[in-house]
């Protein structure tokens, strides 16, 4: 396990009377690909700007390799940023953009040339040295922005929704490339996105944020399979979220039926949120099932069919490779470990 490179302790930010970040605590390990995931306005970009040095938190401390860096300006941090709209210098060409940081650090000319050429090769832009920024496509500008940051060999690279402006195909391609670059160069990447699929695909660790709070920190698998609350479950992937009563450890009551589950420690007869992923539900004959419902729609999605099934006034979302007839009555079952129990969310504000 690598040691922590960046730590935030009790970090809060307030704009006027609006609290943007509430008491954030987190550790980022060296060489890790970390993603801040959340809806717009959740505080993810603010957190990134604090790490980059563009914003000083009102309270709390930011440490970089065990040194407090709250008041260290961006240019003195061993961190570089890929900005949301690339922020390339329009008066400089591709080569000059990438060489910008090295020239400031007074590198020798041939060292600059070598490093810039290496970077251009890394981002597949060899031969574009003399191009004007305005002549490049969005994807190419994106690559220049990445090269311009990475050429300085930072310890940490910050990426603020860097793929937001690209079309789906290009985005997927760049996701793979970014992940490859990160593994190749062994640099810590801190990535901000609102796209849950992007977060799950690329990250070692996902930090889910909402309303200026961290909701959950975990691996993509943990976040998907074991969401800690209804917000995370709802934001990551599709899910059926319903009210339940935790009868006792390993037994939950949903819609009047007791189901075995694997969760413990939620007390006895406590109201909880229950999540069941649509792909974990099997359709069976109504005679064998505790839960029955009427199929209200069937949509073909390629790999699977997406069905909605109404039972006890609750609409279930079910993914299955076999389609049921619309208006037919079906039974549903799921395995104990597919039931995820979560505490009811405390009111955030």
């Amino acid at each position: 396990m690598e040691k922590n490179i960046i730590s935030l302790r009790n970090v809060s930010v307030t704009y006027g009377d609006e609290t943007v970040l509430k008491n954030i605590n987190l550790d980022i390990r060296d060489k890790e690909f970390v993603t801040f995931l959340g809806p717009s306005g959740c505080g993810k970009t603010t957190t990134l700007r604090i790490i980059g040095g563009f914003l000083t938190p009102d309270t709390g401390t930011v440490t970089f390799e065990d040194t407090q860096i709250n008041n260290v300006p961006p240019y003195k941090r061993n961190i570089n940023t890929v900005f949301q709209k690339y922020a390339l210098f329009p008066h400089l060409n591709v080569y000059e953009n990438i060489a910008f940081g090295l020239k400031l650090k007074k590198f020798k000319k041939d060292e600059i040339h070598k490093r810039v050429s290496d970077m251009l090769r890394l981002v597949n832009l060899t031969g574009y040295e003399k191009r004007n920024i305005a002549q490049l496509s969005g994807g190419q500008q994106q690559r220049v922005a990445i090269a311009r940051a990475l050429v300085n060999h930072p310890k940490v690279l910050l990426l603020d929704e860097p793929l937001g402006a690209l079309d789906l195909k290009l985005r997927k391609e760049m996701q793979r490339e970014l992940k490859k670059i990160q593994q190749q160069l062994e640099i810590t990447f801190i990535y901000v996105t609102h796209d849950q699929e992007e977060a799950l695909t690329m990250s070692d660790t996902v930090i889910v944020m909402n309303n200026g709070n961290i909701q959950q920190i975990g691996t993509p698998v943990d976040i998907y399979n074991e969401p800690v609350n209804a917000f995370v479950a709802d934001f990551i992937g599709e899910s059926n979220i319903m009210n339940g009563i935790m009868v006792r450890d390993r037994l939950v009551n949903i819609f009047g039926h007791d189901f075995e589950c694997v969760d413990t420690g939620f007390g006895e007869n406590n109201p909880v949120d229950v999540v069941i992923r649509p792909e974990d539900i099997r359709l069976i004959s109504p005679d064998d099932a505790k839960l029955c419902g009427k199929v209200t729609s069937v949509i073909f999605k390629g790999v699977h069919y997406e069905m909605t099934i109404v039972s006890d006034d609750f609409t279930w979302l079910v993914h299955s490779t076999k389609a049921a007839e619309v208006n037919s009555v079906v039974g549903m079952e799921f395995d104990p470990y597919d039931i995820q129990i979560m505490n009811k969310m405390e009111e955030d504000k």
Partner: protein, 270 residues
């Protein structure tokens, strides 16, 4: 369709720009009887010292305007957006008053018995000769024309994406370095239009030099005015001087634009 809608403007330009230009040229190359002559242009040569002085005054004023306006515009563009409008209003406020009135105000301020000399008298120095000096003329030009420098500079700087400045700082620029390496090159179009908007009126001004520089402090503007309204009535010579002045301004502008072009390719048109 496009041709049709542009017709009124073309007509306007023809009547109020092209025709007057030809008239100036016509007068410049004819004598009082209307016969062709180069005498007016040749005669202009005897006013060379005044031309030199006018160009020097305009250049000095433009330079001072640029030096004063650049930091101000920069600070303005980095302010909170809500303050920017108020600050801009305060800067523009004096312009709402009549130009003549403001120049008169300087006359009373700078005079031997003016407020400045009176105040200096209180602490026991002076009076100094402030009015009717070259300094007073340049002061008047800077004061009157500086808003024309601030506006284009501010407009260009306010349009520079803040994240570009942040990117520069991220890559190792201190605040000063980011100004030199990013803000200045990106504000060149503003510098060019600012210089144009100050230099052109400054080189042909006549009221400021007359009111603050005294009767002996003649500039080209005064010279031209004298040919049309003064005792030495000679519109042909006046047109001749104006024509030469126009050529000088055109050359200066062409040189400035050339510097601009060599600097970068994507241009904001003035």
């Amino acid at each position: 369709m496009k041709k049709l809608t542009s017709a009124p403007y073309l007509l306007w330009m023809a009547i109020f720009v092209v025709v007057p230009l030809f008239m100036v040229a016509y007068f410049a190359f004819t004598d009082q009887s209307g016969a062709f002559t180069l005498e007016n242009i040749i005669k202009t040569g005897q006013y060379t010292p005044i031309f030199v002085k006018s160009i020097a005054f305009a250049a000095i004023s433009t330079a001072i305007c640029l030096l004063l306006a650049y930091p101000l515009s920069y600070i303005l563009s980095t302010m909170k957006v809500s303050y920017q409008g108020t600050m801009l209003l305060i800067i523009m406020l004096p312009m709402w008053m009549n130009f003549l009135l403001r120049t008169y105000a300087w006359q009373t301020l700078l005079g031997n018995n003016g407020i400045i000399n009176n105040l200096l008298g209180v602490i026991g120095i002076g009076p100094f000769k402030l009015l009717n000096t070259n300094g007073a003329v340049i002061l008047g030009m800077v004061y009157d024309y500086i808003p024309f420098m601030i506006l284009p500079l501010y407009t260009v700087m306010a349009k520079i994406d803040k994240s570009i400045i942040e990117a520069a700082e991220d890559l190792g620029c201190s605040r000063i370095q980011s100004i030199i390496k990013i803000t200045v090159p990106l504000s060149i179009p503003g510098i060019i239009s600012g210089i144009t908007m100050v230099f052109v009126p400054a080189i042909s001004t006549f009221i400021i030099s007359k009111m603050l520089g005294g009767s002996s402090n003649l500039l080209i503007g005064d010279l031209i005015e004298m040919q049309f309204l003064g005792n030495s009535y000679n519109p042909n010579l006046g047109a001749g001087i104006a024509f030469v002045l126009m050529i000088i301004i055109l050359i200066v502008m062409a040189v400035i634009n050339l510097i601009d072009k060599s600097d970068s390719d994507d241009k904001v048109l003035m």
